[in-house]
């Protein structure tokens, strides 16, 4: 029982940013149908922007959150306007788009080192207060991370699923020409989605960065878990992604506590989620919906 409580508390507070990143990735995936590998870099850049604002202007962590997110959002929009939108115009196929996003991820990951330097960087923040939650010590900023993620997730859920604008986004995702005919401006909506996705990723990056370190591989290390969470959770929409994300976060924490080793926990989660995806694909195929 103790392990479960610990797993839940740690899982929710430490891995809340993972859920946030998954939400941002899901938004993009839902709108474009594309797996954007470069999304990992919006997470990384969020950490870097936050660290930069923190160390350059001496702002405290909570003050840099907004700039970190906004700048990451702008980078996300820039990648859409400079790379993905032109690619779509040239009728680049899905496979090639994924490879392009892979190239973009590599490019951003290394170009940022010419701006922010090669060594690992750190936020300059005082040690956080430890708050006891259900007998588990939790750093104060992590509670804020959890609270922000919960609020943002709810906001985004309401926004996408319930608001009229969200309806426009979902319409755009399913049929662009039809959506356009209904008076929705695809460019404006697309830019907004890419911005929100970048914002979510950037905030997640800032939370991850302040808790450990800011390094070029920060986002890439999270990419596979994010991708798995979204591919598994998407069957149940945004709510599914959030649920699978939370479950994964808790499971990771629990497995790490059990094995005493974070890598084993990651490996286990990867294998479980891959298995779920395969089983689901098999079931679809048996029902006759064979891809080939």
């Amino acid at each position: 029982m103790d392990l479960v409580v610990q797993a839940v508390v740690i899982g929710l507070t430490e891995n809340a940013p993972l859920v946030l990143a998954a939400i941002g990735f899901y938004l993009l995936y839902r709108l474009t149908g594309l797996i954007n590998v470069a999304y990992a870099e919006t997470v990384t850049l969020g950490a870097y922007f936050g660290m930069w604002a923190n160390t350059t202007f001496g702002l405290d962590f909570y003050a840099v959150l907004l700039p970190a997110g906004v700048l990451a959002g702008l980078v996300s929009v820039a990648t859409y306007l400079l790379v993905f939108r032109p690619a779509k115009r040239r009728n680049v196929g899905m496979l090639e788009l994924i490879i392009i996003s892979f190239g973009l991820s590599i490019f951003l990951r290394h170009a940022l080192q010419f701006v922010f330097g090669y060594p690992v960087r750190f936020f300059d923040v005082p040690p956080p207060d430890t708050i006891m939650v259900l007998g588990v010590g939790v750093a104060s900023f992590r509670l804020l991370a959890l609270a922000s993620v919960a609020i943002l997730a709810l906001l985004l859920y309401w926004f996408i699923q319930r608001s009229s604008f969200g309806l426009k986004i979902r319409a755009l995702a399913s049929d662009e020409s039809l959506a356009q005919a209904s008076g929705i401006r695809p460019l404006a909506v697309a830019v907004l989605i890419w911005f929100i996705a970048g914002l979510a990723g950037g905030l997640a990056g800032a939370f991850f960065g302040v808790g450990s370190s800011v390094a070029p591989l920060l986002g890439w290390r999270l990419f596979l878990p994010i991708l798995l969470i979204v591919l598994v959770g998407r069957a149940w929409g945004l709510g599914g992604v959030i649920t699978v994300g939370v479950a994964t976060g808790v499971a990771l924490a629990g497995a790490t506590l059990q094995f005493g080793q974070g890598l084993y926990a990651q490996l286990l989660l990867i294998l479980i989620l891959l298995a779920i995806l395969k089983i689901r694909a098999r079931r679809l195929a048996a029902a006759g919906g064979v891809a080939a």
Binding site: I98, L227, L267, I270
Partner: protein
Amino acid sequence: MNLDWLDAFLVFGLFEVVMVIGLALLLHLQLGLARIANFGVVGFWGLGMYAFGVSYVRVDWPFGEPWQFLVCALIATGVAALAGLLVGWYVADLDTDGVLVGTLGFATAVAILATTQQELTGGALGMGGLGFPYDIGTVKANEFLWLVITTLLVAAILFFVWRVHRSPYGRLLIAVGANEPLARSLGKSTFRAKIGLFVVTSAAMGLLGAMFGVMVRFLDVLNLGVDITLAAIVGLVLGGTARVWGAVIGVVLTVGLFDIVVQVYLPLPREWHTQAIPVLREALFGLALIVVLLFRPLGVLGKMRRDRLMKKVHGR
């Protein structure tokens, strides 16, 4: 300039080029022909490397060289082939998203296992103890001979790929990549074809990994990152995904440019070589992928030109 110093780097640079050409050629069969996006190349290559290294160092073989090398190389190839069977089975009936996450997940799993199984692999600290299956004098001489052997191996892979294009097997792979449902409607077992392809190509990737392990005589988990996958993909895409020689030309223009021209011949400050050059290399590789796929997706060599090939092969 100290020429001896130059030579060592040149030998290693050439080795890198040859090895990545081998990987890119195998990737050409998967990605260029059958249109399977293997983002886990490093997984098969690294698994072969580590299977070789672990069996070489950790097992007390009752015989000496070159048998020890040959047996361990066989083990490496076999392990990689098994991995190819497993991953091939996993991705055979999945769409592009599934292939991406399956191959990437596999590569990540290999990296995690190599890092955590410290008693076997040396973990994050790495493991030495690998050596050449011969000794012809100096280290440089040994390395050069190994370069020649690896080049022969990659030449064999090139010959195989060249023959595949001119065989019914190649036609099957191209059909699977062009229109899998249509191929199935004609009675072809496309899943089995894809699995078979993965077994064969993964085995070869594993063997190349073993060759690399011998060359550097050290197992390092840092090699299990995404760099080698990137090098193979960029080389293939730039040279021409659909052509036999695409891998060769593309890798020479990318890895060759950096690991030989820049690394060995350009008179740049020494400090640049430790960080700036490698980072620039990756950044430019990434940029090259974007630019090529946006403006000339079929790379330097362009279309497959099957009509020319068929005329050449069948006369009519």
